[in-house]
Every structure is written in C-alpha cells, then in structure tokens.
C-alpha cells in the first residue's frame, strides 16, 4: 500500500516550551515531520506554545497556532480547522498525553479526526506500566520486578515485597521527572510523595534496582505492514542508574558481542511488533554485564531525544520516515534521502564512532545538586564524530563550551588521593574528569570499574587519552607523536599547555609534516553506496570527501552549540533562517554546529553541514578547507560572537557588523564613549573594582556573556566580594563590570540596521522591574505601558546607537525607563532571544532582512521604512518557563542572572487574554480562585497589600505566616495563619506538600535565617508542582489574570495570518 489519499489535513502538536527533559529535539522532529507531510501536498496545522521554534514558522506549516498546549485549546483548534487526522508522536510526551486525552474523551471520534501513525492503544500499552508489563509478559520479554502503586503506603508495601534498593518511576511524566532511587523506607516515602504528585495519573512504579547494569538503547522503526528495522543502537557509558539524558552515550554499542546485540535487537523488534507501533520507537534495555540476562527498562512509542541523536549519529531521518509511515507508506516505498539509491528499509551502518555528552546547567546553578540519577538535569547535549572513541570524546568535550578542552582539570590536582577516591563514588557531571585524574595517578582501571561500574573498555580509552597527555608532556613532540595527538583530537592549545611549545609553532610543525584533518561524509552506509549528502565530520586520514568547489558566493554560518540556560533554541531559529535567507540570495551556505537536537544540524538545511566543535582551531580547519567568502556570526549567540575576532584574523570577512562593532558594544570604555557622543544616558558604571562612589545597589557582571551569566545585584561590599569570587571561578578573559542599579521599567528592542538607518519591528516591555534578567521576565508586545514620548526616545536612541556602532544587521538594545528618562543597559549587535517571537507576532522577517543588509540592500529596498513599524493589532506576551523542580537545591528566586530554560507565548487581541494564555501555556492552570500562600519580605509588605486584597476579593483563601499574616490582618485582609517552618505541626511546608495549595507568592528576604526559610518554601513549592511567584510584578500580572479569567473567552489565533493584518483572529 502506498500513501492514503484520504489524508488531506493533519494537525501536529508540538512539545511546548524548552524544559529539562524536553529540548530542541522536538523542534527538529516536528519541523522534519511538517516538511515531510507538506511535500506530499498535505495541509499541516501546527499547535505549539513555544514561539522560539522553527516548526512554528509560516514556512513550515500552513496554519500555526502559538497557543497553550491544553486539551481545551487543541479542541478549539480542531473545531476551527477540521483536520482529518492528528499525528501525536512528534511532540514528545506532552503531545502524546494530549492526544490520548482527546482520544479517550471521544472528542477525536466525534469530530472525525483519526490518529495516524502510532495509535492510542499502542501509546497506552507503552505508557501504562501495568499494560506494558502484561504486554511484555505475553511475548516473554523480561522486565525488572516491579509493582504499581497509587499511594505512599502501597509504595512501601511493594518495596518490601521487591526488596531494596528500588527505583521509583512516576507514570506519564517527562525526563523521569520526580523519580529516584530509594535504599530504605525513609527515602522511599520522600521520593514517592513527590513522584505521585508529578504523575498525570498519580501512579508510580516501584521497581527492582538494576543499577550497575549496562544501559543499551535501540531505535526501531515499523510500518503498518509489519516491516521492522533498527536504526541505531547506543550504549550508555554510565551504567543503569543515571538517566539516559544525563549519560554520556556512545553509538554504536562498543562492548557487546554480536550474540548480545542480536538478542537485544530481536527483543526490540518483538516489542515494537507486539505494541504495533507505526513509526519510530525507542527501547531501553538493562543488560547484566556478566550474563545474557536483560530487562526492558522502557519503551517510548514516539520520536524522542534518543531518536534525534540516532538520526544525527547515522544520517537516518527518523522523524521524516515516521511521518511517511503515518501516511500509509511502507519502509520499502520510502527512498533513503541520503543515498537516493536505496530505501528506508535498511539499517544504517556507521564507519565512525559517535559520543554524546549532556550539557548540564550547573555553571549557572551553582547551588543545585550535581548528583545524577533517574531525574534528568541536562538542558542540552553535544555530539562528537570521529573514527575512534578517544577522538570522538575529545571532540565532544570541547563542544560543551565550558572552558574545558580535554580530560585535564587542574582543580582536581589539589585533591588528596582519598578525596579523589571519594569523588569517584559521586555520580555527577564532573566524574569523567575525576576518573581521568585517578587514572593519571595510577589507580588501576579495575579498581575504578569496581567503584563506578563503567566498562573496562571505556576506562582503557580514558587511560589512552591520559597516556597521550603524558607522552606530550614528556616529549619530544616529533612528527609521529604530534600526528597521534592530533588523531586523538588534542587541540593545539592543549598540546601547547602540556609541551610548552607555542600554538603558532605547533601549527608550523603541522604544516611542515602535512598533518591536517580531512572531511568525511556521514552517509548511513559506510561508503558502500555513493551518497551526496553534504554532512561532514573531520578526521585525520587520507582522501578528503568534501569538495570546496562552487561557483556561488560561499558563506560560513557559525551555529550556537548546545542548548543551555541563556542560549537556547532561539539562536538555532536565527541560524537556520539566516541559512535560508542566504540561499535565497544565491549563496552557498556552510553551517558549523555540534548540537544533535537541532534543525540546523539536519543535513538538508544548509548546502553543507560540518558537524564539528566550535573552537577557533576547528573553525580554522574548516576555513582552510572551504575558504569561504564571508562568515556570519550574529545569529549563533555568544558561541559565534566569541569567534568573530578569530575568524576575521583568518582572513574571512565577517558579514554584517564587524568585529570592531561587536567589540565597541562589549568594551565598557568604548561603549561609554559612544553613548557620550550620542548623548544617551546610561547607568553610571565602572569596569574596575571601585564602586563605592556609585552607591549601592549595584549590578555586578562579567562582560562578554549572554543570559546574564554571573550577574547579581549587590547591596554591600560583602556582596560584591562574594560575587566577584563566583564570577572568577571561571577564568575571565574580559573585565568585570559594575553598574549602578536603577529600578525602573525594562524595555527591549530588536532592530535591523542597513548601515544608513534603522528599522524597529516593535518595542517590548517587561512586566518585572529591572533587575530581573530579560530572559526571565514576562515580555509584552507592544509596549502598552510605556508612554509615547518614551517610546519615541527609545526609537531615536536605537537609531543613533546603531549608526554609532556601525551596525549592519541586527541590534538588540535593552533600556530602563524611569522618571521620564531612558537609560541604556546594554546593546548587542547580534540576534537575541526575542527575535523569533517578535518576527512571528509582527510578521516581519527580521533575520532575512538582516541578511539582506549584509549584501548592501537597504531596508526601503526590501519594503520597510526606517524607524518604528506600526503596531500590530494584537498583544503578544512571552512568558518564561523554568525547570526548577528538576534542579534540587537551586533557589528559584529571580534576579539578574537568567534561570529560565524556555518560553511560551500568549497571543490575543487584548492584554488580559494574552496574559491568561501565557500563564496557561507556562503551566499555571489554576487561575480562578484557590488557595494561596503569601509570605513576603518586610520591604514588600506595602506593595503586596493590593495583590492580597485583590485575590481575597476574588475568593482566594490566603495562608501566611507571622509577619505577613499580621500585616495583612491589620489591613483587614483575613488570612489563615500557618506555623513557620519547624514552629509546630502542621507548618507551612506541610501545607505546601498537602496538595491543597495552588499558588505561592514569596519574595526573597535578606538575612541568613529568613533567607533559608524562604528558600525552603520556594523549593518545596516547585517540587510539589505549585507555581511560585518571587516577584510582585509577576504576582500583579497573575492578579490581572485572576480578575478576568472568568469573563474572558479565549480565542485561538493563526499566526500565519498576522502579516495580512486583517481580521486574523
């Protein structure tokens, strides 16, 4: 059978905001799916609350709804659009859950919408622990001994029967949210309580712990005709016990013989057949390292993070093939997009090794617990491709952009042997380096294996890297040694550090001995067939496969690397759009990036993809290979900006704003000089450490960062000293900046400058006052709260600044408006986090316009007048989304350092409606009356009064402790007074955990004891899944919603109609 002709209009549900456990991989999968459907002539309706995604572009889907992912919204969209089918397996767990709910309620059937691809029965069988166990029992596939429990007592009983240690896994959650290992009853009770509250169905699985076994994954495809293939197998270096999203993963499996691999492969195929999956599926196994005993850990009947990794590791486009299968095609009918000669019904074979390392946010969240377990903590990941494991590992380490380029970590040198051994027992993000240090000190790999259960094969490979370090340090660095070091992907800077030979000298030596990388193709078939896929990786070897010849102008686009706090999917959006725009202009595009989750690393986005680390040396090799005519750095976030100077030195012109412009904006003195010339005020500041004359509070931050990394408000000398210490824990190449902190309204603009003048698509206003990082603030377009004359001033300043900085392309400026004055906070001649969102809501193609300016096109030529563009008749509110519940120990209060992982958008005709949508999208569902805990610091008490009064009038019940309670009562607002922590039972924490509280408003106070109590309240709130507002501005916004939620009819908006201006709602 081929394509089912009756499928004409398909709705796809996206995955919503980026959170830990659900990152860019679903944008990649969803985008690929939309394209796969549209090339079949199918109309695609997309719904996703995340405005930073590529899938929500008008180029990707026919109808785009950037709306909260709730059952109600999806229903509305279905009723409005009348699709004939729904494809639920491409938007991660969220989409799957929504689709199943719609199916179970009978809504899909009533409205004649068919679930295509994997069916609801299959999803239930895979997701419901009991049904899954039954299914595995039917086909004789082993699962770890386990029991389902729906309350804490049953958990305890089950664990007694199974025997400790046990694993707790909540049903229907993302990233194993709320699960964990329990060694005894006490631990079990605390983990199970959280787990039950996280599960959509209040259900957890108590399972025999198989910690220490090998964790193996298979990516499997099946069509409705029963054809099955496995795309890839992968081995986690960290044994079972660490979430696969937090494990270092290698593909293909390295330590299993054919007998074991075929056993697991056959099992995976049996499972996918029994579940009748139609599309892609991920099967995770635990394998006893000392026998053929195995257990099926879990099955995901959808595309996943692992399938994105498998796609990039092999070149096999899983999401695309899954979409074609959903349309009725069978695997033998779908061409292999890489070879174009073979079909999708084959199994890719690799002739290289792939290593994935997670990117954890602990550089941002220095107080979060770094221990890795069943709860995923990474925000993103990187992948390295090389012919050997050692080389792939070394490549991926430097992809992380954490100032670490090898297994060397000087801080570990200071540990005593005993301390180091202790560190080996700690499973955290730094263990790899601790293992390397232990090997360096001569600890045997057998001993390390005893402690870590990491397979001896991997330990031997780590030891090879350590031996290479030693060989380089011992010298002499002759041709043979240098060649081997480069083959093991030691960067020149690392060799230099070890040998004392300068980097320039090392480069000369390599030139002399002709040691240089060649580029090989990722072709799914290990060169067995001719392939034309322009997907390359470097290795030291012979026979270069990348042909640099072209008759077009060649442009290098620097990507943005792994998803991390402060540098998210937005920059992939900008990179991809710049590639498309460059192609439109007839350029040959070359993209360099190393994030396997993203659209930019899909092999058919740019004309050529180099899947490589983004260090100066790696880029230099590509420049030498390709000799591009220009490079684009303004779309790849800080990753790309940091390379601007180096790329210019390589002789490649930077397209758009020059390195000098970037430097002028970043360099405090140069920037101050420019502001003086333009007559634009800014907060007084210093680069040096003499801030006493500024007067507190001040803002302390390192320069050259994105996402306010290391930024804090300091109220005293002590704060400053502490803060500088924290900033300096990572070596600073640039000075630390100290600014006077002005508390006003924060405003942000993105602008495009063509070298003559500037166009501003719109002005965004932040709801939270200055001092909270712009990425963590609720942002409103248009800036309805900013007076017209202030807006004019902002436009005027932006135009002046763009000119003075010689901007060509994008400029992002942040301002503070206070007392009729506008101050500049900072200006960056590059893309920003808000570009995707503002592009979508204004319908102005900001990135393509910026690319146009690189080639001398003026804005009027491209159809836009200078200055502020007229406002759209809509309100768009961007709301940050956090992943605090997964980061134990991290305080949730907001400040100048960014903490959010993603964002959602609320779009509507009115402010109130947009705000309600944004809150819903961010997962705040209880807006009409409920129970709220209010505890604020003394200085906030006056300000919280109207909020408390408002909530009370709306029927909210207010709980609070001591001071806040007395204060509110004194102002005739009734409260239920709670015990402070530990001051009697039940105390405030018991109430938070009771499940009856719907909202917590808590502002952090100074003073150690108060601070600690507040911290515990906030942590408990987020861990219990209760929205916790730490800024009164946010609380005020919430009150606005609560006031209007009953009377506001929520519409659904097709964002693709915005540009036509007319009645799009």
């Amino acid at each position: 059978m081929s394509r089912r002709k009756e499928i004409k209009k398909v709705i796809i549900i996206g995955s919503g905001p980026i959170i830990i456990g659900q990152a860019a991989e679903f944008d990649y999968a969803g985008t690929q799916a939309c394209r796969a459907l549209r090339e079949e002539g199918i109309e695609v309706v997309l719904i996703n609350s995340n405005p930073a995604t590529i899938m929500t572009d008008r180029q990707i889907a026919d109808k785009v709804y950037i709306e909260p992912l709730t059952v109600e919204t999806v229903k509305k969209v279905i009723l409005k659009e009348n699709p004939d089918s729904i494809l639920p397996t491409l938007g991660g767990q969220n989409a799957l859950n929504l689709a199943v709910e719609l199916e179970e309620s009978g809504f899909l059937k009533q409205n004649h919408v068919e679930m295509i691809g994997t069916k609801a029965d299959t999803i239930r069988m895979a997701e419901d622990r009991e049904l899954f166990k039954e299914a595995m029992g039917r086909i004789g596939e082993p699962v770890a001994k386990s029991a389902i429990a729906e309350n804490v007592e049953d958990c305890v009983k089950a664990a007694k029967a199974i025997g400790y240690p046990v694993v707790v896994r909540p049903a229907y959650t993302l990233g194993g949210s709320g699960g964990g290992f329990a060694n005894n009853e006490e631990e079990l009770v605390s983990i199970a309580t959280v787990g039950l509250s996280r599960s959509r169905v209040h259900q957890v699985l108590i399972e025999r712990s198989i910690a220490g076994w090998k964790e193996i994954e298979y990516e499997v495809m099946r069509d409705h005709n029963g054809n099955c293939i496995t795309v890839c197998n992968m081995e986690n270096i960290d044994p079972v016990g660490v979430h696969t999203g937090d494990s270092i993963v290698v593909a293909p499996c390295q330590t299993l013989a054919d007998k074991e691999l075929q056993m697991l492969r056959t099992s995976a195929l049996n499972i996918i057949r029994e579940l009748r999956v139609e599309g892609g599926c991920n099967v995770q196994f635990a394998l006893n390292p000392d026998s053929f005993e195995y257990a099926v850990i879990e099955v995901n009947p959808r595309v996943s993070r692992s399938s994105a990794l498998a796609s990039k590791a092999t070149g096999y486009p899983i999401a695309k093939v899954a979409s074609k299968i959903a349309l009725g095609y069978t695997l033998d009918e779908i061409p292999n997009a890489i070879t174009k000669k073979t079909f999708a019904c084959f199994e890719p074979t690799l002739d290289y090794c792939v290593v994935k390392i997670p990117r954890w946010p602990f550089d941002k969240f220095i107080n979060a617990r770094r221990i890795l377990g069943t709860q995923m903590k990474a925000t993103g990941e990187v992948m390295g491709i090389a012919p050997t494991f050692e080389a792939a590992l070394m490549k991926s380490i430097r992809c992380l952009e954490q100032n670490t380029y090898s297994l060397l970590d000087d801080t570990l040198k200071e540990l005593s042997d005993a301390e180091l051994e202790d560190r080996l027992h700690v499973v955290d993000d730094r263990r790899l380096w601790a293992v390397a240090e232990a090997l360096r000190r001569g600890v045997t790999k057998e001993h390390i294996h005893e402690i870590t259960k990491i397979d001896l094969w991997f330990l031997q490979k780590f030891r090879n890297i350590v031996r290479m370090e030693r060989a380089i340090a011992a010298g002499p660095v002759d041709e043979a040694l240098l060649r081997r070091a480069k083959e093991e992907e030691f960067l020149d800077r690392t060799i230099s550090k070890l040998s004392g030979i300068g980097v320039e000298e090392l480069r000369k030596m390599q030139k002399k001995w002709d040691i240089r990388p060649v580029y090989k193709m990722v072709d799914t078939c290990a060169a067995e067939f001719d392939a034309e896929t322009p997907y390359y990786y470097s290795r030291y070897g012979v026979r270069n496969e990348s042909d640099p010849a072209t008759d077009r102008r060649k442009v290098l686009v620097i990507g943005s690397g792994p998803i991390r706090i402060g540098q998210g999917i937005e920059f992939d959006f900008c990179s991809v759009h710049s590639v498309w725009a460059l192609k439109e202009l007839g350029c040959e595009t070359i993209i360099v990036n190393n994030n396997p989750e993203t659209v930019s690393t899909d092999f058919d986005v740019a004309d050529k993809l180099y899947f490589e680390p983004l260090t100066e040396e790696d880029v230099l090799h590509i420049v030498e290979q390709e000799k591009p005519d220009g490079a684009v750095v303004q779309f790849g976030g800080q990753t790309a900006i940091k390379l601007a100077g180096a790329i210019e030195k390589m002789g490649v012109p930077i397209l758009g704003s020059s390195y000098d412009s970037i430097d002028a904006a970043e360099d405090r003195e140069r920037f101050d000089e420019i502001l003086n010339q333009c007559g634009i005020p800014r907060a007084a500041g210093r680069t040096v450490f003499t801030c006493d004359e500024l007067g507190y509070p001040v803002l302390v931050r390192p320069s050259y960062v994105l996402g306010g990394q290391g930024m804090q408000i300091a109220y005293s000398d002590q704060d400053i000293i502490e803060q500088i210490g924290i900033i300096n824990r990572v070596a600073q190449e640039h000075p630390i900046l100290v600014d006077k902190y002005i508390m006003g309204t924060e405003v942000e603009v993105d602008a495009v400058c063509d070298g003559t003048d500037t166009m501003i698509p719109g002005i965004m206003q932040h709801i939270e006052r200055a001092g909270i990082h712009s990425g963590d603030s609720i942002s409103v377009y248009p800036a309805i709260g900013v007076p017209k004359e202030m807006q004019n001033l902002i436009v005027d300043y932006t135009r002046r600044l763009a000119k003075a900085l010689h901007v060509i392309g994008l400029l992002n400026v942040q301002y503070i408006v206070k007392d009729g004055k506008v101050y500049v906070i900072e200006a960056n001649p590059r893309s920003s986090r808000t570009v995707p969102y503002i592009s979508k809501v204004t319908g102005i193609p900001i990135v393509p316009l910026a690319v146009g300016t690189f080639f001398g096109k003026t804005l009027p030529e491209m159809g836009y007048h200078y200055g502020l563009q007229s406002e759209r008749k809509l309100v768009a509110i961007k709301m940050p989304v956090f992943s605090f519940e997964k980061l134990y120990g991290q305080d949730v209060n907001l400040g100048p350092e960014m903490k959010s992982t993603g964002e959602v958008l609320g779009v509507a005709r009115t402010y109130d409606e947009a705000l309600i949508k944004a809150f819903y999208g961010a997962g705040v569902h209880k807006i009409e009356k409920g129970n709220v805990i209010i505890t604020v610091k003394d200085s906030d008490k006056e300000e919280v009064l109207p909020i408390a009064q408002g909530l009370y009038d709306l029927g909210w019940t207010i709980f609070s402790t001591g001071g806040t309670s007395e204060f509110l009562n004194a102002h005739e607002i009734p409260t239920i007074r709670l015990h402070k922590i530990g001051a009697g039972k039940p105390d405030i924490l018991d109430h938070i955990l009771s499940g009856k509280i719907n909202l917590v408003i808590n502002t952090p106070s100074t003073g150690v004891a108060h601070h600690r109590d507040g911290y515990r309240i906030r942590r408990n709130a987020v861990e219990a899944g209760i929205p916790c507002l730490t800024s009164l501005d946010t609380a005020n916004a919430f009150l606005t919603c609560a006031r209007h939620v009953d009377t506001t009819q929520l519409s659904v908006v097709d964002i693709t109609k915005v540009s036509t201006f007319l009645n799009f709602i």
């Binding site: 054919d258 390292p289 084959f346 067995e528």
Partner: protein, 348 residues
Amino acid sequence: MCFEGSGFGWEHDTLCEVVFNSAMCGYTELLTDPSYAGQGVVMTYPLIGNYGVCYDDAESVRPWLSAYIVHRVSDVASNFRSDVDLNTFLKNNRIPGVQGVDTRALTKVLRESGTMRGMIAYGEAADRDEMKKKIRAFRMESMVPRVSCKEPAVYGDGPVKVSLADYGVKNNIIRSLVSRGCTVRRFPHDASFEELMSFDPDGIMLTNGPGDPKDCGKEIGELKRVYAHGVPTFAICLGHQLMALAQGFDTYKLKYGHRGINHPVKELAENRVYITSQNHGYVVDGKTVDPSVADISFVSMNDGSIEGLNYKNGKVFSVQFHPEASPGPLDTGFLFDRFLSLMGGSRL
C-alpha cells in the same frame, strides 16, 4: 594504490582478494566464516576487537580469511565471555592483520574499482614493483576443498534426518537445524548423490562456502541428481548458487559484493522486508532464471539482485543471504522452520 598501516596478528606477507564488510559487530563469526577463505577483509567499522574473541562464537574450527584490515584493533578485550584478545587470536591462527588504515578511503576504492587482488607486505623495505608483479600473478584457487570437512560427521539426535553438503558450512547452520530437532550428517563438499542419500535423509542442506560457484563442477553435477530426485532441499549462499547452476541458470560476479549485516531483502510473495546477513561476491543472474523452473522469492532492496529462489518442484528452495545470521539479524530464521515443515511433508 598503497595504504600504510601497522601490523598485528601474524605478520607475514600474503596475497588475497580484497573485499570490505560493513558490519559493526560480529567479527569473531566473520573471521571464522569459511566463505572468506582466500580473502583479505577490510572492516568499514573502525573499532574492532572491543569485546575480544569468544570461542563459543566461532563459526568453524579456525579463521579462514587471508588477511584482516582494520582501522583500530582494541587494546582491551572487554566482555564477560572473552577468551582471548583479537591480536593473540589472529597470531595464534597465523592470520596477518593490518591496522591504522583509513578503511573508509580503502572501501571507497573498492566500491569504485570493484573487488581487487592485493597484497599485505610487512616491513619498510617492501618493493612495490615486486609486489605489483606478485599481485598480478595471483589467482584465487578454488577454496571449497580447503574449507570443507574431510570426513562425515553427525550432529544432534533429533527425529528429522538431514544430510548436509559442506561447502564451508558455518556452525550456526548446523545449530539451527539441530535445535529444531534434526540429526545432521555432514558430508564433504564432493559427496556424491548416493552418499548424501545413504543416510535416508528427510532433506538435504546445501551450505555456504567460498569462491566462484563455477569452480564447483563436480558438486553441480551431484545437485542435478538431488533436484531430479525431489528430496526436500534448502540451500544457502554458495549452495543456492550451485543449485541455480545445476538448473542451467547463470551466475556472475558482483562489482564489490554484498558483505554486511544490514542488507534488506524483500520476500515478494509476502511483500515483506527483512534485514539479513550477507556475504557473497557472486550472484545468480536473474535474466537466466527460467520461470518454468523457479520463481524468484527474495530480491535485494539495494540493487534488485536475486536473493532467493523457489523451485517449481516444490521441494527445493534457496537463499543467497544467511538466515543462520551469526553475525547479524535473526529476522529470517523462520526459513529453517519452513525447511522443517517441507521435510515433515515428505514423510507423509
């Protein structure tokens, strides 16, 4: 064309036919597969030897290939069943090895120019002109007599009796039959029809083996008689080619063969695709298959070449790929079940 690397295993100059295999695992099975006799095998997967060598996984008594060419031999053998590391295994079995080769580059040469003769030479002083002369003079002799058993042997004690013509059998063919309740009597490659039938078998198994099927004139002659008799017969790989030649079909040499464990084949009757293990340089020419004698049952999804035949007498079927796997996917193990039911039918 010369690729440089460093030696491992038995460092001894050798001439061979150079082929590549794209499997990422299963090197023990591959090394001990008699079908590789006379060949120098290039592994496209760069990391070989990771889990050592487990004797239980051997497909015959020893490795048969002439040389093993890889990118990197593991310096550690990590698996609970590992008996010996790969380097030692090859050294003990006098198989020359080369590592440090850009095997992808070499594979592309083989893909573009086809399977070719080559020489492994050790030492700095190797005279290239001299080597070229030797390579040109090298001819692949018939390898079947070398790898086949010399004396008959019996395996298993099940109720179904199978005579197996050993052209270079992989152990897992025997195991697949024994585990399904067969007594297998294994005969040397040149066993006559009478010898094969002396055991009063329920069926005959024709195995895989090395080299050009047209070198096996005697065997082809005997197979004509097997077919004429109508005893249920299942043939794999070389056996499949020999039966086709016995029926007057032709075979030809593929440019670079099918060697790997990811080869999709389609069973035409069921319209189903299976992933198979393959190792063959020759193939039955589809244009010469007489439709009144045999139906094409399986075709390769990669190049459309013939992967299986069902003969019209209803008693003989054959496949080009390896349903016994080892190494590779177990997807087509059901073919042994089909053989069993075919034999069950003959008893009635």
